[in-house]
Amino acid sequence: MSLENGTTEPFSVKDCSLVAIATGDKAQNLRELRDGVMKTHPGSVYYHFWAGRLRPAFADPQFHNDFATWCHYALHDDVLAERLAVIDPTDYYTLDLLRQEVVEIIEQRLEEVEHPRWVELDQQFHFIRSQIVVFDTGRKIELPEELPEVVPRISVGSIFYHFVDARRRHPISVDDFRAWLGCPDEPHQELCYLLASVDPYFVTLKELREQLASIFEDYFKGRAL
């Protein structure tokens, strides 16, 4: 955040839009799903874990990624669905590590079931990837103290970009707010800790925005006293 001349580089609020792309790869049974996950574009692993965040959640989703959802609704294998659903992608620094975990869980299941099920032709799993289009909103945050006012007003696309997508961009898998604040160093060490404890995976983006707004509000209010 701090430049050598002592000034502060502002935080540019960006927004994003995902464009879904069919890879053409499909799976009709568990073996095909495993093979598909092994060879698919890394962007497809990303899409099936994260793109759901940018889709609406009208009810609490039972399963948090597309692989688990398919295993439940199409394959009717709830054991596998539950094991896949519990994977938290934020635990994996790279998409390849995440991919390996999915493959490992499917292989374990393949060893347990004698006759892996097939699904109807129109219930196949379709591997999808996405292109992300990122654009500048023109909004700048000059000082950390402005965060409580700005964050509640930014779009869910901005929340996705700065808090979810950021983890793919930064070598140490942090969000853009922590990167800008210079975490984990002073002067905002406590705030860094609070942001690090936010789990973006099991909430909607609107809920995530509320959580972040609340953290910024409480933290800077406390410092103002």
């Binding site: 069919a22 990837r129 292109q131 990122v134």
Partner: protein
Amino acid sequence: MTAIQDYAAVAGEDVINHLRQLAAPLQGLKVVHVNSTRLGGGVAEILVKLVPLTKELGLDATWEVIRGGERFYECTKNFHNGLQGKQVPMGDALVQVFESTNAENAEELRRILEEADIVFIHDPQPLPLLKACPNRKGKWIWRCHIDLSHPFRPVWKYLRRFVVDYDASVFSLSDFAQPLPHTLYLIPPSIDPLSEKNMDLPESDVTGIRTKFNVDPDRPMMLQVSRFDRFKDPVGVIRAYRLAKTFAPSLQLVLAGGEATDDPEGDAVLSEVRAEADGDQDAHILMLPPDAHLTINALQRSADIVVQKSIKEGFGLTVTEAMWKGKAVIGGNTGGIRLQVVNHHTGFLVNTPEGAALRIRHLLQRPERAHEMGLKAKELVREDFLITRHVKEYLSLIVALIYGDEERVELEMKPRG
């Protein structure tokens, strides 16, 4: 004319700002949409709004319509059915009409199309235009609104040779996409919440619509709105109505069919439907003109049960429209209906007339459940199936195509002034 700012009230100010920012680097870009009808059918309904909105965002967007004779539409209807899996005749004479009609249209449109930065060709009717524009400078995208998951192979084999030269294709669902040597984008269609077909109506219009068509206002009414097309299974709807009526004798049915100028098969299906209804005084079969948007709006709002029992469906915009009006929908378990009808949440997915009858009885017995599902249905449409989302995805696609097919496209902010 609706202005883009008017959508802020229904979609949110954020969404409109988002569109303006996304459109900023695309100012003045020449975008041309081409299809085969200006009236009737989901494609025309989307374009009639999409084009002016894109224009208002600063792009130079236009909409061209190709023209053809009866034989041309007969041929393209066969293609349409064939792409959806029906075995259809494909005689050399009809194919010749298809190609010569496109060649004639190309003579008129060539200059506009060759100068465009982006050309969207909608559905198979205008597909050969690309080959007729050798000096094209822009990117050409085939926008397929049809369920292409299991095409009749001879039809697809013939049409595919026109599609392969395009820079990209767009499908409504991944299930519909066929392997092609270019990027296959996925964009579901949408509805316009401010159009005559979807805007709020005075209560008197809603109650009055029943009187207009002799539908008893005091008895429950189930409705299907769709073209008289076999894939919409209107005969299956009548069977479901009959089964449900044995348990709910007061039930009435309205089948409201719209005409489309490119659908010559409608009359034959309408005759089958009338034969199946067999003079039932409670089964109302309405043939509505393509511009009967307010009538359809009022019918959807007035319905106690909305059904879309398609056996094949591209997307099913009538489902979206009914959901926007707070109705739980009983939909065929096919195509884009699955994307909208989340089983037991925003409606029910069914596979047979029997399944539909069971769910009709369920919702008639439990109006509070129907209401609750209807509220969820409306929210789902607000978040995901309004035209603002559609415009956003078209803009994103254009950006992606212009700025390269990298996984990540970062647009720079242009200084104002």
